[in-house]
């Protein structure tokens, strides 16, 4: 699956991502885009800074893509996650999944984004309209699980 997954600093190109999974055998293609939105937890957001433990993040993304094609047999998968400073409506993550059937395409797409959020070492610092900024901590609850 090498090449199917990338950490990028330039804008994600949804069309290119989709082109990487298209094949004549596929009847369904799903693109998921995570986008920087203007409000989070009631606070006005101006942008988000994404950083990563890059070597490990790339490795975890590849392992997610590899596991996806085992769990959802016949799927093709392409994933890009962007790093750096993103402003409103910028795409932070793009996931393209194609499969012969839509059931598997939806399931694989959903599984991949949840796994990314669960275990890929990427962090975001939100910048707010009042000039402050803060690291986002969705939950510390997964820690114990990942360390087994």
């Amino acid at each position: 699956m090498s090449g199917a997954v990338q950490l990028v600093r330039d804008p994600i190109d949804p069309a290119a991502l989709m082109a990487r999974v298209a094949r004549p055998a596929h009847g369904a293609l799903i693109l998921f885009l995570g986008v920087v939105r203007d409000v989070n937890d009631g606070r006005g957001v101006t942008g988000i800074e994404y950083s990563a433990y890059e070597g490990m993040a790339a490795r975890e993304l590849e392992s997610i893509a590899d596991e996806a094609v085992v769990r959802f047999v016949g799927a093709d998968v392409a994933i890009e996650h962007r790093l750096g400073y993103l402003t409103l409506e910028d795409v932070s993550v793009g996931i393209a999944v194609a499969h012969a059937h839509r059931d598997e395409a939806y399931a694989a797409s959903r599984w991949i984004i949840e796994e990314i959020k669960r275990r890929v070492p990427i962090w975001k610092r939100e910048h707010y309209v009042d000039g402050s900024r803060e690291w986002v901590d969705p939950s510390g609850a997964v820690s114990a699980e990942l360390a087994q």
Partner: protein, 80 residues
């Protein structure tokens, strides 16, 4: 033996550093690294049991280390 400790995001902010070199006993585990780190200035704001990776894989606190290992303290992830 020597290991490199990597700090990221809020953890790097807390300790004011992105990496440390630690000298440890030959039979050291991840738990020993955490004990070492907890004595550094700023470590009070780290959680008692942060998520750990050794050589870019998630690892338990009991994992034995070897010289040259890269030990990362992983703040709560927030990708996507």
């Amino acid at each position: 033996m020597t290991v490199t400790v990597l700090l990221f995001a809020s953890y790097a902010d807390a300790l004011g550093e992105a990496s440390l070199e630690l000298d440890l006993a030959e039979d050291a585990t991840v738990a020993d690294v955490l004990a070492e780190v907890s004595r550094r200035p700023g470590a009070a704001s780290l959680p008692p049991a942060p998520l750990i990776a050794v050589n870019q894989r998630y690892a338990a606190r009991t994992a034995r280390l070897r010289s040259g290992d890269e030990v990362a303290l992983i703040p709560p992830v927030a990708g996507g």
